[in-house]
């Protein structure tokens, strides 16, 4: 019997074949903690193992401050300092408040490659499935234990194979495909599963597009969503890893608990309406209801790459963000910020009326780039629109193109086809 992607990754780490349902101690290539959860990781570690205890390997641990960066409350600032002090003592590298989103840093720095195991205090760590890595978001007890042991207990989840048939409409992107998939599965349709995505429309996605799809595995309660890395991904990773990484794939006779084929036809721009990421409708329908907007947000681990901002600008070119509407931009990382800055895109976006914030998780983290007020309507490229998450307002989730076209119009509209 062959193995699914997750079974192959786990088998390689534990040195023997494994099957779904088995519980193993799974070695981790890299263990991280953010400013969110990080201080609790440190507290748990010190309480459990003593103040003189050493971590398993400081080279394989990172702190990434991305949630509240820079800290806008004393509580967060203090938590970050607790992490810095601990890191200094242990010889752990800190990606400080100027670095950007931790999961993206792992990809940019060649630390997350096909077959890598990684955990972090970030529920979207399964985003690493975009490069064929087993990333998992975990709480601070898990991470504190892994700081000491370098491994986690892990019940190998069942795998589900998803074949996606369809093609993107000229004004649609990876986010629209992703929302169509979330609509199909719903918020618990992949609960506890490792999902593998196949089909031409998925295989053609560039790395940012794969990141978008993999990131929203969490919104379907998947353990991880894998998109088997192809040449597009390996080309991207090669210079960062210093060598061409080997890809990872499932065996032809891999044991899937289920195989699902989605026939999506022509995938048009989609939008998740308040207050759930799976409350997805075509933008066309929502546009017909004349939904007036107060603010827009482009960024997050789901849509915070340079390509996302370029796609947004294509909708703003020759125009401006509407009067009385604010467009907030948050690049995912310092690298993305640099790309925007030095390519001239930042100037163009600024001129079109955007408010540009520093890199990080701002927009999802509470209050980092402002909250929504009672009655405020926001459109966002983020991944969650739960009630109360970004404030008291109502949040719609859509692609960078839909967000940009909509803030230009001042109401939710279908993005234009641009060349």
């Amino acid at each position: 019997m062959g193995a699914t992607i997750i079974e192959r990754i786990v088998a390689a780490k534990v040195g023997r074949p494994v099957a779904a349902g088995e519980v193993v101690w799974l070695p981790q290539d890299i263990v991280t903690a953010r400013d969110f959860g990080g201080a609790s990781v440190v507290k748990n570690f010190v309480d459990a193992y003593g103040k003189d205890a050493r971590v398993f390997d400081p080279q394989r641990i990172r702190f990434t401050f991305d949630c509240n960066a820079p800290a806008n409350t004393v509580g967060y600032a203090t938590n970050q300092q607790i992490c810095r002090d601990f890191a200094g003592k242990q010889g752990i590298k800190v990606h400080d408040v100027d670095a950007g989103i931790g999961s993206h840093l792992l990809i940019e720095q060649g630390l997350a490659l096909p077959g890598t195991t990684a955990i972090g205090t970030d529920s979207h760590y399964n985003i690493l499935g975009a490069v064929g890595a087993l990333g998992q978001g975990m709480g601070d007890i898990d991470v504190a234990s892994a700081f000491k042991k370098g491994q986690i207990w892990f019940e190998v989840p069942p795998s589900i194979r998803v074949n996606v048939n369809g093609r993107l409409a000229p004004n649609a992107s990876a986010k629209d495909l992703t929302l169509a998939i979330v609509k199909h599965f719903g918020s618990d349709g992949l609960l506890g599963k490792s999902a593998e995505f196949y089909g031409e429309v998925v295989e053609q996605l560039n790395l940012p597009g794969r990141i978008t799809l993999a990131s929203m595995g969490t919104e379907m309660s998947a353990v991880v969503c894998f998109i088997p890395p192809n040449a597009i991904v390996l080309d991207w990773l090669e210079p960062r890893a210093g060598a061409r990484p080997e890809s990872i794939a499932a065996d032809a006779d891999a044991p899937y608990i289920k195989e699902v084929t989605l026939d999506l036809g022509e995938i048009e721009p989609m939008i998740a309406c308040p207050f759930s990421p799976d409350n997805v409708r075509p933008v066309r329908e929502v546009a017909a209801e004349n939904v007036r907007l107060d603010s827009g947000f482009i960024g997050s681990c789901t849509n915070g790459r340079a390509e996302d901002f370029a796609s947004a600008y294509a909708q703003l070119e020759g125009g401006k963000v509407a009067e009385r509407v604010t467009l907030k931009l948050v690049p995912a990382t310092r690298e993305v910020y640099a790309e925007l800055l030095f390519s001239g895109l930042l100037e163009k976006l600024f001129t079109a009326g955007a408010l540009v914030h520093n890199q990080g998780c701002g927009g999802c983290a509470a209050g980092q780039v402002g909250m929504t007020g009672e009655g405020e309507v926001q459109i966002s490229t983020s991944n969650r629109n739960f009630r109360g998450k970004q404030g008291a307002g109502r949040t719609y989730l859509a692609s960078p193109a839909t967000v940009a076209a909509s803030v230009r119009a001042g109401r939710i509209v279908v993005p234009e086809v641009v060349q």
Binding site: V23, F36, Q136, G137, G139, L191, A365, R387, K389
Partner: protein, 171 residues
């Protein structure tokens, strides 16, 4: 009664139609504005503070009660506080139709009894005496005598962590 048996009264989280609420996410359980708090004893007062109709949950719940919910409990963020806030209030644990994967781990790691029980809908009333047998993976409802099976069953590692008093006490 084995060391793996836990009993207590049910505190079901119900919607206005009396059905178990599905998709209770971590922002409803423990809102992100309180994430900077690291002391467990300070977390209880915010439990379910963002779940409509349950804002006063910390005043209503009594120690030893089971939280009972529908599908996909604990969806969303990886915050440990969403588990710890129930520990702080002395809850017996969590029984739900299904639990989001990160939340499930976090509860297991904290040594808080948790079980996924398909078929739970419509079976539990407020105050019902519930007994979870983590060895046999069964949930018994005293009022009706119903015995429901947890699925997937409670794993050996979950029992080990529970016995140790949490993952960090596991040697």
């Amino acid at each position: 009664m084995s060391a793996f048996t836990v009993s207590g009264k049910a505190f079901p989280l119900l919607d206005s139609d009396g059905a178990l609420i599905n998709n209770i996410d971590t922002d409803m359980i423990y809102h992100n504005q309180w994430l900077h708090i690291t002391k467990l004893e300070e977390m209880g007062r915010y439990a379910l503070g963002n779940l409509k109709g349950y804002e006063d949950f910390p005043q209503r719940v009594q120690p030893g009660m089971w939280i009972v919910a529908g599908r996909n409990f604990g969806a969303g963020s990886s915050r440990q506080q969403a588990v710890d806030c129930f520990k702080a209030l002395g809850c017996a644990g969590i029984i739900a139709v299904s639990v989001a994967p990160i939340y499930l781990r976090n509860a297991i790691n904290a040594g808080l009894p948790i079980a996924q029980v398909p078929g739970l809908e419509g079976q539990v009333r407020a105050g019902d005496e519930l007994t979870l047998d983590m060895q046999g993976s069964t949930l018994t409802i005293a009022r009706t005598g119903a015995v429901l099976q947890a699925s997937p069953p409670i794993s050996t590692v979950q029992r080990e962590i529970f016995s140790a008093g949490g993952l960090l006490k596991l040697t």
